[in-house]
């Protein structure tokens, strides 16, 4: 009996069909129907006319943007130092940054909650700050790894060439290192920004009152408004697609992710 190479892909194709394509079609169906099963676009127009949903969208964007910025600020210098060092043990140090991800997620967040409670007294006092801390804590490795990968692959001769041609350290960094690490920055940003838009479990576990897109969708479904919830999910999906296209595909993302 002969298998063609293509038939090796069948199990995944089946999985894809049952758990990704079909649910997506169901999602589209619900998004464009009302309670009576009739076609409607009121769910769509409703989203863009309701100040609550729009407010949540902008708030989510803001939270994701701030989280991404904080992650980038923390991760870039670290990745730069590690990526350009001659230490033999640098891969071990990189592993240390990934190590927290091996610990159970809920355990980590619970620990974070306790720490924040000790520091702040009452978690409810700084909802936005806590949301940023929680997400940064969770997503930081996803920023460090692609940055580290890109920077450590930078040819050291290029920075030497820049200095040889008269650029001091600052200009070498701005004109050579930074532009060449842009692919790493883009993939790090998309790997942090996208989950930060949608992941509300972190906030839930921190008893955080901050309301983001993920929580909004969750609330629709728990109120049995599958039609409204589906439409919001679909809009979010469209936004993510646009964002991914803008940051230039996911080749680097895959590379950084492969390290995990």
């Amino acid at each position: 009996m002969h298998f063609s190479r293509k038939s090796l892909g069948i199990p995944y194709a089946v999985f894809l069909l049952v758990f990704v394509v079909l649910p997506l079609l169901v999602l589209v169906f619900y998004a464009f129907t009302n309670g009576q099963g009739q076609f409607t676009i009121s769910n769509f127009t409703g989203f863009f006319t309701d100040p609550n949903t729009l407010g949540t969208l902008f708030y989510s964007l803001l939270l994701a943007a701030v989280t991404t910025a904080v992650c980038l600020t923390l991760a870039y210098p670290t990745a730069y130092i590690l990526g350009t060092s001659k230490l033999k043990s640098r891969s071990v140090i990189v592993m240390l940054f990934v190590l927290p991800m091996w610990i159970n997620f809920s355990l980590r967040i619970t620990a974070l909650k306790e720490i924040l409670t000790i520091l702040e007294g009452n978690l409810a006092m700084y909802p936005f700050l806590n949301a940023v801390i929680g997400m940064t804590y969770d997503f930081l490795p996803f920023m460090i790894l692609p940055l580290y990968t890109t920077i450590s692959r930078l040819d050291g001769a290029l920075t030497e060439a820049a200095m040889d041609l008269g650029a001091d350290r600052t200009r070498t960094f701005l004109e050579v290192v930074l532009p060449l690490s842009l692919p790493g920055i883009l993939s790090g940003v998309s790997m942090v920004f996208l989950p930060a838009m949608t992941n509300y479990v972190v906030l839930d576990m921190l008893y955080n009152s901050t309301y983001i897109m993920g929580s909004l969708i969750g609330s629709y479904f728990s109120a049995y408004d599958w039609h409204g919830g589906s439409m919001i999910s679909l809009i979010l999906l469209a936004l993510i697609c646009i964002f991914t296209l803008l940051t230039g595909g996911s080749e680097e993302t895959a590379r950084g992710g492969a390290l995990l």
Binding site: A157, E160, A162, D164, L165, G166, E175, L180
Partner: protein, 480 residues
Amino acid sequence: METTENIIELRHITKVFEDDGFTAVKDFNLEVKRGEFVTFLGPSGCGKTTTLRMIAGFDVPTSGDILLNGKSIIGLPPYKRPINTVFQRYALFPHMNIYNNIAFGLRQKKTPEAEIARKVRKVLDLVDLEGFEARSVSTLSGGQQQRIAIARALVNEPEILLLDEPLGALDLKMRKEMQLELKAMHDKLGITFIYVTHDQEEALTMSDKIVVMNEGKTQQIGTPEDIYNEPATAFVADFIGESNIFGGVMTGKLLARFCGGEFQCVDDFPEGTHITAVVRPEDVELTAPRLGTIRGVVDSVIFKGMHYEITVLSGKNEMVIQSVNSARPGDLVGMRVDPENIHIIRAEDHTNTFYADINAAHRLEYNGHKLETSLTRIIKGSKRMEDGSILDGNGEIIDPSRMRVLVSIGPEDIEMTDEQDAGLIQGTISNLIYLGDHYMYVIHTDLEDFVVYDEDLWNMDDRVSLIMPVEKMSFALRKK
């Protein structure tokens, strides 16, 4: 101000890398005149690139000074030195087009954009790549990238252009072309070139002056003709061109004995001097057996196109000959060499020396091993007192913590073995030169380098243990 026609001087430069303690360059001295084409030549790991990087400013010498136009530049970072580099793998900026790559240096100096455009066009013309301004780096072939790298350095009009094996990644034909072009560029521009290569032919073709380096040390500095015709050491003779190298001794006025025969020569050394004789394969003349200075049996004949390469065994010695006439393996032949074609070098003294410590029991120790001898036996006039202490010849007590012993042993007295535990110290073979009837090896150990003569062929990088018989050693007491 001190006036000098030397554009750059390196004085007693030594570089020890901090992370592994490796000494890459040892006491390197060089003077380069304005407009010269100087080449650093040597095998990989000889310190040539490190020396170049110290001139560029990427590495800082551990000691010594570098003077540019008579002023020290040791404290200047690379971006403040009027020196530009062409890198081994070109190091063009992949995120910039050709124009921006070449303009990079001029922009750092805030040159007006109109002037930049003019200079970029001019330098692209110089390297024969007119109209390439808007191309991206990745669309260029290796040879074209190399030209852009040269253009990018030259556009800054540096006082010195450094080239780090710039042709190493090109194929042979392209390399030959670029050699001639670089040489022409140098003659046209009048800029001082310092060029690094491991390719002796490249060095001989292009240079005004060649610096041959090995294991961080200068072996010889001279013109290509000097280096080829009058090699200063056995290493240089072995590295430059093909050579027959023999150990030997002077047996009279202008008379040298090597390879089992007595040859007339033109180098005057006192009788009895140990020598290294160098004979180029093209200078050996095959004769009838009775007409030769020495005789031998043809071992192998290989056709090389322009000539035959004939290997003749004469006793234990091996002579390689290039001849337009063929011979048959097994033939008995005579060989003679014109006196002016024999180059005699005073033999380097290869006696090995190392320090052994005196332990509390007044025994000698080296590398954790006891040397089976006693202090009273090796130090003249010394005697052991009743309390166990030892007096030297002057009657003074030898304090083990303040004294040590310098041990010397000849290279022929050391034996190499594969059994790692059998010898005093272990190391790897880092150098190998055939000296006619034996090989000279340099063994690199954690403590010091040893020179060993052995008739058998060992491989480079073999891990060997060195057996050193105590009775072959000589000893001298030294203060710590």
